[in-house]
Symmetry: C2
Subunit: 189 residues, 2 copies
C-alpha cells in the first residue's frame, strides 16, 4: 500500500518514516504532490489530524497519514494543547518554548503531557484513529539538540533527560507520536 505522509514538518516526516517502516507501506512525500494542506481550524487533535489526512487523500486518491499533536502543561491550564504549533503567534520552536518557560515562571506545577493523534484516511472513505500520550515535566532550561518543537524543555522521567536528549530510537519507544504509531502498527499486524 502507498501512503502519503501528510505533514510539512520535516521532523515529523523523519519520525513517522522511522516508526512505520515495519508496516512495509511505501511512504510518499507530500512535496511530490501539488496539493494544499488545509488550515487547522478544529479544536481537537482528532479533528485537525482528520482534516489533513482526509483532504490529502481526497485530493490525490491515495491513502494519507496525518498527525496532530500538542503539549499540555498543567500549571498553565493545559495550554498550549492543540495550539502548540502556533503558541504566542511565534515563528520558531525556540521562541515558542521560551515563551512557554516565561509564562510558567516559577510555577511549581510543571507536570505536562505530550499528546499525538495519528489518522490514516483511505480512498474508500475509511479513517483510522490512534492516540498516544507521554507524561513528563517542564524543565527550567532547554537541554539537547534532537527532536523538534518543545522536546528540549520536556523531561522524560523514564529516561532521566529531555526528549531532545534521546536518540531517535529512544524517542520513538516512549514518545506520544511513537506510541500512536505503535498502535497503528499493532492494528495492522
Amino acid at each position: 500500500m502507498q501512503v502519503i505522509i501528510a505533514t510539512g514538518n520535516p521532523g515529523k516526516v523523519k519520525e513517522i518514516g522511522l516508526a512505520i517502516a515495519p508496516l512495509g507501506w511505501e511512504a510518499l512525500n507530500l512535496k511530490d504532490f501539488e496539493v494544499e494542506m488545509p488550515e487547522e481550524t478544529e479544536t481537537t487533535y482528532e479533528g485537525n489530524a482528520l482534516l489533513k489526512s482526509r483532504a490529502i487523500c481526497n485530493a490525490t486518491g491515495i491513502a494519507a497519514l496525518a498527525d496532530d499533536s500538542g503539549l499540555e502543561v498543567e500549571g498553565l491550564g493545559n495550554v498550549p494543547g492543540v495550539y502548540s504549533a502556533r503558541y504566542g503567534n511565534l515563528n520558531s520552536d525556540q521562541e515558542r518554548y521560551e515563551h512557554l518557560l516565561a509564562n510558567l515562571g516559577n510555577n511549581q506545577n510543571r507536570r505536562a503531557k505530550f499528546v499525538s493523534v495519528v489518522v490514516v484516511s483511505h480512498p474508500d472513505g475509511k479513517d483510522e484513529f490512534y492516540r498516544g500520550e507521554v507524561e513528563g515535566f517542564i524543565t527550567r532550561e532547554p537541554r539537547g539538540s534532537g527532536g523538534f518543537g518543545y522536546d528540549p524543555i520536556f523531561f522524560v522521567p523514564e529516561f532521566g533527560c529531555t526528549m531532545a536528549e534521546l536518540t531517535p530510537e529512544e524517542k520513538q519507544s516512549i514518545s506520544h507520536r511513537g506510541r500512536a504509531l505503535k498502535a497503528l502498527i499493532e492494528a495492522h499486524s
Copy 2:
C-alpha cells in the same frame, strides 16, 4: 539555647546553619569539641541520627542536632537508603553517584526519594524527631555544582532541574533536610 551541629559533613553544616537561623539558637561547630562521632550502626535514619545527637549531647552536656539521610531509588529496591553515604564502599560523592547510575542502567523506573531525619537531643534526656522527604527522578547524567551527595543526579519536578542546580534558598525550600528542619522550626515557634 546553644546547640552543637553534630555532623562532620561541611555541606550539611552549611545547610543546617542556613535553615535554623530563624530559631535564634547559637549553633556550635562540632570541630570545637574533643568528642568522637559514633559509628552509624543502626538500620534506620531515626536510629542513626539519634546515635549521633545523643552521643554528642551526653559527651558535652550541650544540646546536639544530628541528621541522617539517604536516597531511595525505586528501580533498585529503594537502595542505597540508610547506606547512601557508604554506597559501594566508595570514597567520593562522584564515585557513589556514578556507581548508582551504572547500577540503574536503562531501568525506566527512575523514581526516587530523598529522606532526612533530624534529631535534637537535650541534656535533660529529651529527644525530638523530625522527618522530611522529597520525591524526584534519577537523571541519566549529573547536572549542576551546588549541594552535595547525590544532588547532581536527582531531578526535582517542582523546579525542573537537578537538586544541584538549585540555589541554596531553593534547595532549602524543597529538600528533605529543609523540610525536616522546617518541621523543627514550626515546633519551636
